[in-house]
């Protein structure tokens, strides 16, 4: 803060300007005020001035202390101190520059980060798998080209990739992806089964070139298929035939190749594992990834004087951070989400309950991300 002082003459000048009294009278007024203020404070131990606040004398009990320099025990005598309790109006006026700041919670549910430490050793296994793959491929044929048709299992849209990438740092997701494939790579017995299958598969006609968009879906399919296979195999609970069916499905669209070396399965898995680094496999937060469409509305609200989207959101969704969805549904009417014009008719969309589930911290995190997007735009 600036240390600029206002002295009595400044004060009287300003007072004379504000009222009709002369400077002389203003001076007298300020002097009288200060006298009476001081007197009143000492006499009543309490002066209340409307518009400013309360000045109070508070008794401080005598206490023992130590002289810092000499170490001598001294007693601080009991005394009065002046306590000033500003009125709320003054507090607010003074704090105007920072009034937009709010107290925020710092517990942003970093649940996913915990997984990282658990899965570090598995990452090592994955890198070993890649090493083995390198050795085997140097002995055997040049590496095959993998191209796989999407499985019917996959129903997620391509947008998943975009949102997930924003959502979670890839470093967090990567180990879990690799972990899912490593069991296959490290267990030897899987190879005989796969050999027979790949020779079967080679009879199926080869697929043609595909568009780039299909490639993404393909990769996703590979991931899910591979993941599923890994899980089935790892737990050993599935009947072999079903595993074979699955793998046959999975490989049916690969380009034909002689491919009877044991290296093949390992290679494919490794490819899948490396692919997973750029993508994220499991879709648990799908609610947040789906593009939102606002077709149903639960209410129409005319923005009142001093009303804000956050307040409306608080009323209808139970939390102010969900205002972003109101904004999204009314984008064409609202130019600046910070300053919604009074009287604007906004429609309150019906939202997927999962999206505004306060028990799921994910929903808040996501809403805040959107908030940053919209507010950061300008």
């Amino acid at each position: 803060m600036s240390d600029e002082k206002v002295n009595v003459s400044d004060l009287t000048d300003a007072l004379a300007r504000r009222t009709t009294i002369t400077k002389k009278n203003a001076e007298a007024f300020v002097a009288a005020f200060q006298d009476i203020f001081q007197e009143g404070l000492l006499r009543d131990k309490n002066v209340k001035i409307t518009g400013l606040g309360t000045f109070r004398l508070q008794w401080v009990e005598p206490r023992r202390s130590v002289n810092v320099q000499t170490g001598e025990a001294i007693e601080i005598a009991g005394h009065y101190k002046v306590v000033f309790a500003p009125e709320t109006s003054l507090k607010e006026r003074v704090n105007e520059p920072f009034s937009h700041l709010e107290t925020t919670s710092m517990d942003g549910a970093p649940v996913k980060k915990v997984e990282v430490s658990k899965e570090m050793p598995l990452q090592k296994l994955a890198s070993q798998a890649i090493e083995i793959q390198d050795i085997l491929s140097s002995i055997n044929e040049p590496e095959p080209v993998v191209e796989i048709q999407p499985e019917p299992v996959v129903e997620t849209e391509p947008e998943v990739v975009k949102y997930e990438a924003l959502d979670v740092p890839t470093s967090v997701e990567t180990p879990s992806a690799e972990r899912r494939y490593t069991p296959v790579a490290t267990v030897e017995e899987s190879k005989p089964i796969l050999n027979t299958i790949s020779s079967n598969a080679s009879m199926v006609p080869a697929p043609k070139k595909r568009k780039l968009t299909w490639l993404w879906i393909t990769l996703l399919a590979l991931l899910l298929g591979g993941g599923g296979f890994a899980v089935y195999y790892f737990y050993g609970t599935m009947i072999q035939t079903s595993v074979m069916n699955l793998v046959a499905d999975w490989q049916s669209d690969k380009q034909p190749k002689q491919a009877i070396e044991p290296a093949k399965p390992v290679e494919q898995v490794a490819v899948a594992a490396t692919d997973s680094i750029t993508e994220t496999p499991v879709v648990e937060t799908s609610v947040f990834d789906q593009p939102r469409e606002y077709t149903e509305f639960i209410a129409d609200v005319r923005v009142p004087d001093g009303g804000r989207l956050t307040l409306i959101s608080q009323k209808y969704y139970g939390h102010k951070d969900f205002w972003v969805y109101i904004y999204e549904a009314n984008k064409e009417k609202i130019q600046n989400p910070d300053k919604v014009e009074v009287g604007t008719l906004v429609r309150i969309p019906k939202l997927n309950p999962e999206l505004i589930n306060l028990d799921n911290s994910e929903s808040l995190v996501y809403a805040r991300k959107l908030h940053d997007q919209y507010v950061g735009l300008r």
Partner: protein
């Protein structure tokens, strides 16, 4: 001493009507408000200084829920006793 008593004493001392005093006092208070809002210090001669202090943002923890909250920085008005009034306070005995 509340605002009314202050007004009464002022009007008695200055020899002007209560109503006039009230208007002047309001103007005076408003002026002090404005000066503080601009970040200036206002001296009450012989007593102390009204000033604005900046409180830095800090992290507070709710002891029962262990929830950590970020309290933002803010400006608050504060009163500091100066010079002679300190001595007068010292000499005041408890009552």
């Amino acid at each position: 001493m509340n605002n009314k008593e202050l007004q009464a004493e002022l009007s008695k001392k200055l020899g002007i009507s209560q109503k006039e005093t009230a208007a002047h006092l309001a103007a005076f208070v408003e002026e002090v408000n404005v000066q503080l809002t601009e970040g200036k210090q206002v001296a009450f001669l012989g007593v102390g200084v009204l000033e604005v202090r900046k409180k830095e943002s800090r992290v507070s923890v709710n002891p029962t829920t262990q929830k950590r909250m970020l309290v933002p920085q803010k400006l608050t008005p504060a009163f500091r006793v100066t010079g002679t009034f300190k001595d007068k306070l010292k000499n005041q005995s408890q009552s």
